[in-house]
Amino acid sequence: MKVELRDPNIIMKLSRLGSFHQSKLSFLRSFLTEFKDWEYKRDLFDLDQNGFGVVVYSFKKKERVYSLICFANKIHDDERSDRVIATKWDAAFTLHDGTPNKEDIERLKKEVPKQEVGRLSYKELTLSRANKSVRVFDHVVKNLSNGKQPNLDLLDKVGYLYRTTAVYGSGKFGLADRFRIKNRDEINGPFRLEMMLVYLVRQFTFDQVNHVAKNKNPKKAVKLDPKICKNLGIGNSTGLGMAPFIVNHPTLLNNWIMSREKALKKIREIKKVDPQDSKLFKQCLRNSIKNITSWNTESDYQLKKIKNLLNDVKKFLDFIETKFNFGTDYPFNQLYLWVERETCEECIEYIVSLMMEPYNRIIEPLVKQMSSEEDRYFTIPTNRKVEELRLIIESKYSNILSVNFEKKQNHKKFWFISKNKEEPRIADRFEEQGADLEQPLAIARDIKRLYEKLLIIKKDITIDKFLSDNSDLRHVVRRAFIIEKFPYSEIQDNTISQNTIPIDMLRLKLSFFGALKFDPRSDKWLRICMFQGAPLPNELKDYDDHWIYKTNS
């Protein structure tokens, strides 16, 4: 039986993309798979009694070394902010290519804590900073120093000791360009070094909290129980900075979604499912209920989604345990069709992620297809005809063409780059100034403009002639020729509508990172947790690949 890939007009809608969940394809999981047999070391631990100073961790294999350099600094409570406007953080980090020498550490000590206004070199690969969850950190220190383990309810509620507020890579602020490292096998997957940084930062938070507790009360202090550590992740506050990324990297976006869609298609095409695989699927499904019930948020928007998800997952669980027989042909296809018919978007994508759990043999080759050589598709095929372009738009953007951009509510928002922080923002075009400096992120509107132009132009003229009179549409002409080859390269929705929820764009990207427990703090930023339940670095050699469904929180 041949199953078709799912329709981009459904999958690439913002509400669907904003319902994606982590899966075996997620970058933090593929990072762990890749680096599980690397040698992990803490190379330097030079913190004072309050936990301020420098720490270096490394992953090493043969001649290759990646080192995380951590700078922990004292800041006042009133200086601590997760927003991008902050200028000081509890800790700042960089991933260095190789083993740093003293000069490197001295150089980086001056630059890394400054983050966006510092300068890095081609020897550094990623850059980040993080703030303590002061309530949790102080509670843990207090308890450990008194010889007790912390209150697990509080830890469950938050899920981490620190949260990062940005992770930069790929040439930002002088960091190494991707081209310098792209041929390394171990990083043949998107954001792998960013994942390494976050993973090692998580370990730093445990080492620091133990160190501070020990110094507070050397005789009585105990270490944080490794089982508790394992159930703590690293938090992250994410704002609009991420949103334009998925618009500006269409072939990369396609490759992420295409891998997910191919995985689902292949799983649905399995005629007879091995009982061990169905057992594992059901086990992960049952265990995953805990991931939903421990998902804390104050956002009404997310609470409603979680409630629906929990109801639907329970309904699905009941269905497969009481009414469904895995011995029938194409069981995952039947289950998928049932889920699509009976449950909400959030649940559909949740189950799609779960279906991947038993299938390493399907997922592993797809992980290698998730990067993109974007420049190969940049040049516009200007020898093609206007008529061909029109047909591409009609076939690939059909839903977008039905949006009426004459209506105010359909072009109410505009995206811009803030002068203060050079970060993307979204605002109301009719109430705020700056719409004349709009970023080219209103793809739906511009595609429609292009289409309307094409309707009144002679069919057989070539694209080069069309562009010589329509330079303002060049960016979307390029995109239309990209989507012809890459069906999942475009968000099939209006990103400037009054009803646009920007966090849907963030969630899409974060789900591919492997984030859990999306906690929207507004429609423009959210908090998440990464690596919660993941093996600790000293457990990597032999860990359970399904750890994500076995957390205690």
Partner: protein, 203 residues
């Protein structure tokens, strides 16, 4: 040191701010990145050009012909580069073409380099005494070493080179003969047993 990613982003934004469309700005970002990657002064010349663009007029050329001359000013290297790249398949049929008066001619170079990749032919770019051989957008050979790039090229000639060898047949044969010394002479026994197919395959 600025990364290529920073160079591309800043060039793109600056080009937009200088009045070009987003689509053209994206092209310029890629092109300046390319120049800097090849060790040529992209940022320096783009910056100078935008400063001068505020003071002087530059001409566009919508349709490139075999011989091209501005009406009174200099050609804008960006719009000319875009036209060249877009129309490359037509321009290629001229075998060569000429231009008069192109401002900041180094800025035209990455467009030609990308055009070389599109048509799969090397392009020889001559202006004044400078010569650049653009090899399929993979590399650039030039006699332009650490010279100051002129702000105006008066006489420009562009040749499309046919795909021919850079060496003589004699040189090739000589080298090939040497390479044969890595081969094993096949005996009858090896002929029978060392290959997959049979000696006759008429079935």
């Amino acid at each position: 040191m600025k990364s290529l990613s920073e160079i591309e982003t800043t060039s793109k934004r600056a080009t937009r701010a200088a009045g070009f469309s987003w689509g053209i700005s994206e092209e310029v970002g890629k092109c300046i990145r390319l120049l800097e990657l090849f060790g040529l002064p992209g940022i320096k010349n783009l910056n100078s050009y935008f400063n001068e663009k505020n003071l002087n007029d530059f001409e566009n050329l919508k349709l490139i012909d075999k011989d091209n001359q501005p009406q009174k000013d200099m050609f804008c290297p960006i719009n000319l580069g875009i036209s060249f790249l877009d129309q490359i398949r037509n321009i290629e049929t001229f075998n060569n073409c000429t231009f008069k008066n192109i401002a900041y001619p180094i800025l035209l170079l990455p467009f030609l380099s990308r055009a070389s990749e599109v048509i799969g032919k090397k392009i020889l770019y001559n202006f004044d005494k400078n010569q650049f051989l653009l090899n399929f957008n993979l590399s650039i050979s030039s006699n332009f070493i650490e010279e100051k790039c002129p702000v105006l090229a008066k006489n420009i000639k562009i040749n499309f080179l046919e795909n021919t060898d850079n060496f003589s047949e004699i040189e090739w044969k000589s080298l090939y003969k040497l390479s044969e010394e890595t081969f094993v002479e096949e005996t009858d026994s090896l002929k029978k047993g060392a290959a997959g197919a049979g000696l006759t395959d008429n079935d």
